[in-house]
């Protein structure tokens, strides 16, 4: 594997990790608001 290949793979892994982090962050926020909604509606 050339250094160039290695850099490209790293860049791809970084992009995937960033996308996954954003997705997980979004889910944390979503589940927080779902919990608030459930509490507000008395868990019906």
């Amino acid at each position: 594997m050339t250094p160039d290949d290695s850099n490209r793979i790293r860049a791809k892994q970084r992009a995937r990790a960033t996308a996954m982090a954003l997705l997980l962050g979004f889910l944390v926020v979503l589940i927080f608001f779902i919990t608030l909604s459930k509490i507000r509606s008395g868990m019906h």
């Binding site: 594997m1 793979i9 892994q13 979503l30 459930k38």
Partner: protein, 299 residues
């Protein structure tokens, strides 16, 4: 990426995972699901409503991913699909399978826990129907593949309604019937002008197996019950005149386009313009009717 030697393991790009979910198909699924929810007679908490639509989108994405996992060999043979992540070699089949199964389980679990179990149950049925009944069982075996398989795409309004009310009623059932009966003319119009692609891939689409004449006749025949399902909510008192007028006018135009396709014959060097027009209009038609349904409910 093409310059990287094949011996080097290159992880798939996040964009490839996104492409695996068929985002363009998802647009219609999300729209009909949202309209099914907004047409329901009860209000929905915005967060729960958003979650329900997200689950419908994720479920549709999962079904799309599993479809592409199973059909990678077919996709490689068709010009329209050859650039998808799997046939183009940008992703391993294993990654696609794990992604699809994971997304399917997550969408159903989230729907069940955050929204309700009726909606989660219908979402499960819709994913399994698309993957097992349509993709695995019917698509390569019968020219009626999209007739029965079309039910998979008809579930979203039902899921949207169930997410809002927790039950099923006559109106969402008619919306299900509308999308179910709309699918054959919509797909057969497409199949008429991409016939060579399907033939090369060995998919038994109706024009390939039964010929153009039969396909054209079937487009005309399926348009009749579709038109009834589209207009029926108005005389049955389930919607008001806004939906009734738009559905009647939109359906009349659909029927006119379908009749032109049904009664014509392909000429040498035919550009298939009426077929392309019917295909394009059929998409607009569904958006129009579901949009009118929501406007009618909220006006």
């Amino acid at each position: 990426m093409s310059s990287i030697p094949s011996s080097v393991f290159v992880p798939a790009d996040w964009r490839d995972f996104l492409a695996l979910t068929k985002p363009r198909v998802m647009t219609l699924v999300v729209f009909t699901g949202l309209c099914g929810m907004l047409a329901a007679p009860v209000g929905v908490d915005p967060v729960i409503g958003f979650t329900a639509i997200l689950c419908i989108a994720l479920g549709a994405g999962a079904a799309g991913a599993l479809n592409q996992w199973y059909e990678a060999d077919l996709d490689a043979l068709m010009k329209r699909t050859a650039k998808r992540p799997l046939p183009a070699g940008r992703m391993t089949r294993e990654s696609a399978l794990h992604f699809g199964v994971g997304l399917a389980c997550f969408s159903v679990l989230l729907m069940g826990l955050a929204v309700n179990y009726v909606a989660a149950g219908i979402l499960t049925v819709s994913i399994l129907f698309y993957v097992l009944v349509y993709t695995v069982w019917l698509k390569r075996r019968t020219p009626q593949n999209i007739v029965i398989g079309g039910a998979a795409g008809a579930f979203p309004p039902l899921i949207g309604w169930a997410a809002a009310t927790g039950e099923i009623a006559l109106l969402p059932f008619l919306l299900f019937s509308l999308v179910f009966l709309w699918t054959p003319p919509h797909f057969w119009a497409l199949a008429l002008f991409v016939k060579t692609d399907y033939a090369n891939a060995g998919v038994p689409m109706l024009p390939v197996v039964a010929g153009e004449r039969v396909t054209r006749a079937q487009i005309g025949l399926y348009t009749i019950p579709m038109a009834i399902a589209a207009v029926a909510p108005w005389p049955l008192g389930l919607t008001g005149p806004i939906y009734g007028v738009i559905a009647t006018a939109g359906t009349a135009l659909f029927a006119a386009y379908a009749a032109i396709v049904a009664f014509r014959h392909t000429q040498p060097e035919d550009l298939m313009k009426p077929e392309k027009r019917l295909f394009k209009y059929s998409i607009l038609y569904l958006f129009l009717l579901f949009g009118a349904l929501v406007v009618d409910r909220w006006a």
